[in-house]
Chain length 335, copies 2
């Protein structure tokens, strides 16, 4: 292991001077700097960030905890964060909580233990996720996509409730009456709000919300499949289904396929999160399109500002989603 001392000795200077060269401080004699550079190359020296971090009491790493790395929604967002972080000289450490509060807690510990510069979290649960220790340690935290109940933090969200309402209103406008909803876990704000938006739409049109037609699943393919099948096996099945995330929509499509039903004639479908393959299936899928990459950008910018010392009350950014109307929710053909 070649250290700063070895370089100093080889260049005939003191370790402090090597350190100055490494940190590109202007107050170094060009000739010495050159000798140091040469020694660094010659010895293949790689400064230890571990030591540097200890000494400086700061790191150049951000931690980002998402709840499902297999969900394209999150990975698109990650790209937005990454681009800002990379541009500002930070590295991004990605952690996958797998919708599991225990795993999430472990990654939060890691963020604290590594004294990371900042954290971006999409909490696994609005009640079970405890960010307080991280905040108490003075590490800036920004929430994205989902909120938690207690702390006062910067957040970047999509207007889920409005988007969900719009999706269901679209179904109503297209002549569907018995509309079901497959939402996510009710301890996530996205699960809550998308369900609330569904109910908003029904109430607006004077239709009482029918809890018989609401299913709560896990934001994953399997949950969407089971929930959809249970809906379609009702004595009086729904005419249309609003599914509150992309993976569950995949499950819903499989369930419909497995039961041999025709979309939208026998059951119409609107999903949440637009996907690259949505236009390619038959019929093409109507879906709420979220500004995923922009969510990442905004989140990263807020975090960067806090890391740079910006004070003041928490900021809440709310981005709008749009509805991509395609064939799976085509106007109802009454039979």
């Amino acid at each position: 292991m070649v250290t700063i001392k070895d370089v100093a000795r080889a260049a005939g200077v003191s370790p402090a001077t090597v350190s100055r060269v490494l940190n590109e401080r202007p107050d170094v004699d060009p000739e010495l700097a050159e000798r140091v550079q040469a020694a660094i190359v010659e010895l293949g020296y790689q400064p230890s960030r571990v030591a540097r971090n200890l000494r400086r009491r700061e790191t150049s790493v951000w931690g980002m905890i998402i709840s499902d790395i297999r969900n394209p929604f999150f990975t698109d967002m990650v790209r937005g964060v990454e681009d800002v972080a990379y541009g500002a000289g930070y590295s991004l450490v990605l952690c996958d909580s797998d919708e599991d509060v225990a795993k999430e807690a472990r990654y939060l510990d890691l963020i604290m233990a590594e004294r990371m510069a900042g954290a971006i979290v999409s909490p696994a649960s609005s009640v079970g996720s405890n960010l307080n220790p991280v905040i108490a340690q003075g590490i800036p935290v920004v929430l994205v996509d989902r909120r938690v109940d207690s702390p006062i933090l910067d957040t970047v969200m999509v207007d889920d409730r409005r988007a969900a309402r719009g999706a269901v209103e679209h179904l109503i406008a297209n002549g569907y009456r018995r509309i079901a909803c497959v939402t996510g876990p009710l301890d996530t704000t996205t699960g809550q709000e998308r369900l609330a938006g569904y109910r908003d739409a029904l109430e607006r049109t004077g239709r009482p919300p029918e809890d018989e037609l609401v299913r709560t699943a896990d934001f994953k393919v399997g949950g969407g499949f089971a929930a959809t099948r249970s809906l379609l096996e009702l004595p009086e099945p729904p005419e249309a289904i609003f599914v509150a995330n992309n993976l569950m929509t995949l499950g819903a499509l499989s369930a419909i396929e497995a039961m041999g039903l025709v979309v939208p004639d026998e059951v119409a479908l609107v999903g949440f999160d637009d996907m690259p393959w949505a236009p390619l299936i038959r019929p093409p899928l109507t879906a709420v399109a979220q500004p995923t990459y922009e969510l990442g950008l905004e989140t990263a910018r807020l975090l960067l500002a806090r890391i740079r010392g910006e004070k003041g009350p928490p900021r809440h950014v709310m981005l709008a989603a749009s509805l991509e109307i395609r064939g799976s929710s085509a106007p109802r053909q009454r039979t």
Copy 2:
């Protein structure tokens, strides 16, 4: 910032004893240990891994560099790695090189600078990716999905060549003759081998490989789209296309859709990497299914063994892929 000294003072012991408690060393008086635990809780003490890493000269973090975080193939693999790492007490840091050798180099630097315990890399280029410095630092490295030219490292691969050959032979068996290939960058081993497999299949059947029908794209949606369109605009377009990864297949499907062509009657299609939505499109997509999660598991196990000190020559694990036959490559209807 509460340190080990604060805890020691609060518990009325020495820092060394606190350290022993933290590391669950058996040689501590139970009563003292209890007092230390109490003090830790009381003060909300969180040991600094930065300091611990410096002192121990080792970390409990793995670095994993993948070339595209938006590609489900990689994220599935990540889950496999994660499960092994998590189980063995390691944390996984995910880095996205975005198929860019420069970004990759930066993340490799990070792995070295942070003195990570091990690295898993899916190199952006078989020639441009330079892992030697990492290896020289004594950090165990395992390659997954792609190889690099020079170093002798453990690798975990899929038998790309054989899988590609099988896919193309399937098209031939189903009556297609003019078969095109959209492959990836030729400085990736996957790009090379899948093309080689395509050529193998053609040669076996006595058909000369036709370079006119080969396109090299970027393993991304846009590249697949452009390559496919250019193939279909040929004076004598192909009867079938073999596309060498999932994202490019998405692009190919869009191109075919945009040109209003019917699959498989006007052009048949076989993709590489099976996707959850592959059975849902019309017609369902025939694709080479890779054992993604298992790739991750095997890779992580090899790395774990090396970290634990296993010596010996490099090990090369090769997993087989399977062909999921669906409608997009149905037997040709001669007109």
